[in-house]
């Protein structure tokens, strides 16, 4: 294996050089109230299109999450409608089940229109 030490933009590894300022004083991570909940943001970019996942952010409640989403994710006119849902409420399929869930669809080519060869004379089908 080639031996290289990679440094990335903003990444200098975990060298124990430390900074000159007082390392030992660590402000309490989140304050007494704990971190604001995480929300997932979905944005409709224009009328007629689906809401699409844009990213996430922190907010104390749904109303604030929508406003934050407006300020964070639509600064460049990216949207006309916003959905937010608290991340903990999202249920996801298990990636380990991906094989069982999605592979069986793989051999059902007859569900796709291109499966059927029709004479060129047939139009508009």
């Amino acid at each position: 294996m080639i031996l290289l030490r990679k440094f990335y933009y903003g990444d200098y590894g975990e060298s124990k050089l430390g900074s000159s300022s007082d390392n030992e004083t660590s402000s309490s991570p989140s304050g007494a109230g704990g971190e604001w909940p995480l929300w997932e943001v979905f944005i409709r970019s224009k009328q007629g299109l689906d809401h699409k996942h844009a990213g996430s952010l922190h907010a104390v409640d749904a109303a604030m999450a929508i406003e934050n989403a407006r300020d964070v994710y639509t600064r460049r006119m990216e949207g006309v409608s916003i959905w937010v849902v608290e991340s903990k409420h999202i249920h996801a399929s298990n990636p380990d089940d991906a094989g069982a869930l999605y592979d069986p669809a793989n051999d059902k080519a007859y569900r796709h229109p291109t499966f059927y060869n029709l004479p060129d004379a047939v139009k508009h089908m």
Binding site: W36, L57, H58, A59, V60, A63, M64, E67, N68, D71, V72, R75
Partner: protein, 266 residues
């Protein structure tokens, strides 16, 4: 630019009133936006840092529209302008005594409670003022106000929600909210005392104050904050150039490059 046109010691009846009024609107928006922009990079949480910077951008945008219009008015009214007025000459080359912003907007940010309350007082005032301006005879002012009103509507919503959160949040936030109120209340009366140049602008200040007071009252109620008793005595003067000391420091910082390197393009 012929600065004498916009001196606050205006004497001839109603001449230059429209210019002065436009400048007043511009100065209000600029100084408030400038104060908001001081938060950029220092907000209490990333999401709100972005939110208050958005408001700063809206306000600076508004000020540019007003300054551009004011410049146009000056350039038309001056027969032989030596230097044409521009948005930047108006923002960067007038001194404290020529600025016409309300005292409220130049007050320091202090903490989040004070910034929020200042924003709430100011945005609510802007909201009712722009609503009236939407029907002004001056087509330009009308157009600028109509566009800005959408922005301001959001500023009112955002700031009133924060006033409520802080007022009805923790003991600490309540304490800070009350302190902010104590600091800022005496600067709110000025908003409804027309300066000489406002008297001919078809603004109903009684209506303005009514709308403002009603909104403040309802938000304060939700924030569990008592509205102070109507005080006859208010700090006034900003509109005609009698400022607090804070404005001088804002301008010193803001105008530094234009002053240090005159006649340069940036």
């Amino acid at each position: 630019m012929n600065v004498s046109n916009i001196k606050n010691s205006q004497v001839s009846p109603s001449e230059g009133f429209r210019e002065a009024f436009t400048l007043h609107l511009a100065d209000n928006a600029l100084i408030m936006g400038h104060r908001n922009s001081e938060w950029c990079g220092h907000g209490p949480i990333l999401e709100q840092d972005i939110a208050i910077s958005n408001i700063a951008l809206d306000l600076i945008g508004q000020s540019r529209n007003f300054y551009q219009y004011a410049a146009q008015l000056f350039n038309q009214s001056t027969n032989q302008p030596i230097n044409l007025a521009t948005e930047d000459s108006l923002a960067y080359l007038r001194d404290v005594r020529d600025f016409k912003n309300c005292l409220l907007v130049e007050q320091p940010n202090a903490d989040w409670a004070q910034s929020i309350l200042k924003q709430f007082f100011f945005s609510t005032y802007q909201y009712y003022l722009y609503q009236q301006l939407q029907n002004n005879k001056d087509e330009q002012l009308k157009a600028i106000a109509a566009k800005a009103l959408k922005e301001v509507t959001y500023h009112v919503r955002w700031s009133s929600e924060w006033v409520i959160r802080l007022g009805d949040g923790t003991e600490e936030s309540k304490k800070r909210s009350l302190k902010a109120l104590d600091e800022l209340w005496m600067f709110t009366g000025e908003l409804f005392e027309p300066a000489f140049y406002e008297t001919t602008m078809n603004i109903d200040f009684v209506l303005l104050k009514e709308g403002w007071t009603k909104k403040i009252r309802s938000v304060f109620e939700e924030a569990t904050i008592d509205i102070p008793v109507e005080n006859k005595w208010h700090q006034t003067g900003g509109k005609i150039g009698d400022h607090t000391e804070h404005l001088g420091f804002i301008l010193a910082e803001m105008q530094f490059l234009q002053r240090a390197y005159p006649n340069s393009e940036w």
